[in-house]
Assembly symmetry: C2
C-alpha cells in the first residue's frame, strides 16, 4: 500500500497541489512573509528569526526553492533569498481559475 498515485491526476492538479504542499508548513509561510514584507533580497538573518535549528531552516528554504516560490543566490559568505513573484502570480491565476470565477454565485447557493 501507499503506492504513489499522484501521477494519476492531471498536470494542473499536480502543479497546484505541489505549490500548496510547499506552503503547507508554518515555517515556510513565515519565511515567505518575511521575504514578502521586505520585498528585497535577504542575506542571512532568516535563521535568527526562526524558532528552528539552522539545518531545518535550510531544508525549508530548499523546499521553497524547489517549488520556485523563492529565488536564491550566493553572495560571498552569505546566501540571499527573495520571493519569486512570477510563481505567485501563476498560482493566483490557477487558483482563481479553479475557484474564483464561481465565488460570485456563492450567495445563491442552496445546499448542505
Amino acid at each position: 500500500m501507499a503506492i504513489n498515485k499522484k501521477e494519476a491526476f492531471t498536470d494542473t492538479d499536480q502543479k497546484l497541489a505541489d505549490l500548496a504542499k510547499a506552503m503547507a508548513h508554518p515555517a515556510r509561510i513565515a519565511i515567505l512573509r518575511i521575504l514578502a514584507q521586505r520585498n528585497t533580497c535577504i542575506c542571512g538573518e532568516i535563521v535568527e528569526v526562526m524558532p528552528l535549528a539552522q539545518a531545518t531552516v535550510s531544508q525549508h528554504l530548499k523546499e521553497l526553492l524547489n517549488a520556485n516560490l523563492i529565488k536564491g543566490t550566493i553572495d560571498g559568505k552569505k546566501s540571499c533569498y527573495c520571493i519569486n513573484w512570477e510563481t505567485f502570480k501563476n498560482f493566483n491565476a490557477d487558483f482563481n481559475t479553479l475557484f474564483g470565477d464561481l465565488q460570485v454565485s456563492a450567495a445563491n447557493q442552496a445546499c448542505c
Copy 2:
C-alpha cells in the same frame, strides 16, 4: 527529533499552512475542482470519478471537511458534499494580505 514545532509560529501562519496542507494533494484538488465546477451538492458520484479506492477517497473528503474547505451532509443512503465558499473567501483574503499587496512592486524589484 521530529518534535512538533508548529505551535511556535503565529496563529495566522498556522492557519494558512493548514489550509495549504489540506490542498496539498492532487486528489483533494480534483475533488474541489469537481465540486466548484458544479457549484452544488454532489451526492455520491465522486468515488467513481477518482482513480483511488473508496476508503482513500473517504479519507481525503474527511481532511477537506476538517479544514472546512467543504461542507457535508448525509442524505439517506448517500453523502452530499459541496464547497464551503466562506473558507475560500477567507483564504483568498489572508493569502492576498500576505503577498498580494506587494505584487505590484514586483516589476521594479532588483535582486537575485
